[in-house]
């Protein structure tokens, strides 16, 4: 059986379509988050996702319906805590993240322990995605990408130098809120692809790879997208062909590309300053 034959399977097609949309959203946001030293916000919000999925399963409601508003509210909570709570962003992420995990464990315990459903969200299973999920993933990812496109200049400006952006009349509070809300949507979408445990990898690794070789900001965004889509598509195919876990395959392929880019930069472009 050849690769082209696998593409005939509807579940593979669904996984590839949803995976590509999510890969694009993650890679774009990842560049912004890593440069703003908010890499671990994906990790923190995925822990909140764990809590909200457990709540959804406990209430017998489709978990995404609970996760989306809860994680979006938590993302704004992190932002406000960092602004008003006299703490840095990493501490704010740590607080929200640990509360999310604790709430999840508590609810899993109340509902009689961890069940198969909860584990499927922890480690993801994109091959089981249905048509409705593909549609909602495509729509939400398109919203994320369109918003980044619309606010690209403002987002670039606050990412490079927030003080200068404010002195240029940009409403940085609004743009920051948009950025964390987009991250929240993306994290919820990503749990189906690589699972809650590995969400931050899909945000960080393509961006980190791009920074090894990028020759500009737009160039970094494009490279990150290419790396992300390649790793998701190849991860899905490899995992199906070799009967391996999909989420882990995507993350490990991502890491492999990162290592290649890292060695390429250190061996052939020693004068280049990125990725330090």
């Amino acid at each position: 059986m050849e690769i082209i034959d696998y593409l005939g399977y509807p579940f593979i097609q669904r996984a590839l379509i949803a995976g590509c949309f999510i890969a694009l959203a993650c890679s774009m946001l990842g560049v912004l988050l890593v440069l703003r030293r908010l890499s671990l916000i994906g990790d923190g919000l995925s822990h909140v996702t764990f809590g909200s999925v457990a709540l959804g399963l406990l209430l017998n409601v489709y978990p995404v319906y609970i996760s989306l508003p809860v994680v979006m509210a938590s993302s704004l909570g992190i932002l406000r805590l960092a602004e008003k709570g006299r703490i840095y962003g990493d501490a704010a992420i740590g607080i929200v993240s640990s509360v999310g995990i604790a709430a999840g464990v508590m609810m899993a315990s109340v509902s009689g322990g961890f069940n198969v459903d909860l584990f499927s969200y922890l480690f993801g299973n994109i091959l089981s995605i249905n048509n409705t999920e593909v549609f909602s993933t495509a729509v939400l990812s398109a919203v994320v990408l369109l918003t980044i496109y619309m606010y690209f200049d403002e987002i670039f400006s606050i990412t490079f130098d927030e003080e200068f952006a404010r002195a240029s009349g940009i409403n940085t509070r609004k743009i920051n809120s948009i950025l964390v809300l987009l991250t929240a949507i993306t994290v919820v979408l990503t749990m189906k692809v690589v699972g809650i445990m590995l969400t931050s990898a899909l945000l960080i690794l393509p961006a980190a790879t791009a920074f090894q070789i990028a020759r500009g900001f737009r160039n970094a965004m494009i490279l990150s997208s290419v790396v992300s889509v390649i790793s998701v598509v190849s991860g899905i195919m490899v995992s199906f062909v070799l009967n391996l876990p999909t989420g882990a395959s995507i993350v490990l392929l991502n890491f492999l590309i990162f290592v290649t880019a890292f060695f390429y930069r250190t061996c052939f472009r020693t004068g280049h300053s990125q990725g330090r």
């Binding site: 130098d161 002195a167 240029s168 940009i170 500009g216 737009r218 300053s273």
Partner: protein, 250 residues
């Protein structure tokens, strides 16, 4: 259009209940070139932040181009160079051209089009003599080159008011002289108003039309000649300062 570019009235600011600026009242007219000097911790950068709306005043008000910050829409009329040490991430994967173009974020009209943007960036890079490094990454440049890129970012929109917080830091003597000449040219030929924060009070006499000496409040605000003749100067710097500082003038 109001004659005053900046009008501050009884401006005060506190950090954690410690007052760092108190009762600042002054106005600055179009074409004024003000050297803002004072010892470390005197509130120079805080005053700049209050003027730009980066910090809210604990008391008083400030207007730029006749408007409070909430009503101000023409942010492209202001060019700003922050203190470099506060903000720059040297690993940022951004080219010189991309960084310089950030100064056009609030631009209106032709400067927002791709062609207009390109032309404005080209012009700013040429002014600072860095057109040849436009495609290089900002992190790969020397400190002096980086500073010139940030100056280009402040100038790219053709601002009517330039606010520069210690711009000569990291510049070599030749580049610093060229830069000060460029500022004088912009001030004299295009009537650009300038506030320049510096520790080099002596060289301000050569360029600035006014001097503001700040130490949590305004100690002196007037021309450099007035400053040299005033008792304030000897009170601050001692009796021999007259010769040392004012000697450089002209």
């Amino acid at each position: 259009m109001p004659a005053e570019v900046i009008k501050a009235l009884d401006l005060s600011h506190s950090y954690n209940s410690a007052e760092v600026l108190s009762g600042i009242t002054f106005s600055m007219k179009r074409g004024d070139y003000v050297g803002l000097v004072g010892p470390n911790g005197s509130g120079k950068s805080t005053l700049i932040k209050l003027i730009l709306g980066l910090e809210p005043p604990s008391r008083g008000s400030v207007e730029v181009f006749g408007r409070g910050h909430k009503d101000l829409t023409d942010w492209n009329r202001i060019g700003y160079l922050p203190q470099k040490i506060n903000f720059f991430n040297p690993h940022f994967p951004s080219t010189v051209r991309e960084v310089a173009a950030l100064g056009l974020i609030s631009a209106k009209g032709p400067a927002r089009t791709p062609g207009g943007k390109r032309a404005a960036v080209d012009h700013a890079l040429e002014l600072l003599n860095i057109a040849d490094i436009g495609d290089r990454l900002i992190g790969d440049l020397s400190g002096g080159q980086q500073q010139r890129v940030f100056i280009a970012r402040a100038l790219v929109s053709g601002p009517e008011l330039l606010i520069l917080d210690e711009p000569a830091t990291a510049l070599d003597p030749e580049t610093r002289d060229n830069f000060f000449s460029l500022l004088s040219e912009l001030n004299k030929q295009k009537n650009v108003s300038i506030i320049l924060v510096t520790h080099d009070i002596g060289s301000m006499g050569k360029f600035a039309s006014k001097l503001m000496y700040l130490d949590k409040k305004i100690i002196f605000y007037g021309s450099f000649d007035e400053f040299c003749r005033s008792d304030t100067m000897t009170q601050i710097f001692g009796p021999s300062s007259q010769h040392i500082i004012c000697h450089k003038h002209g």
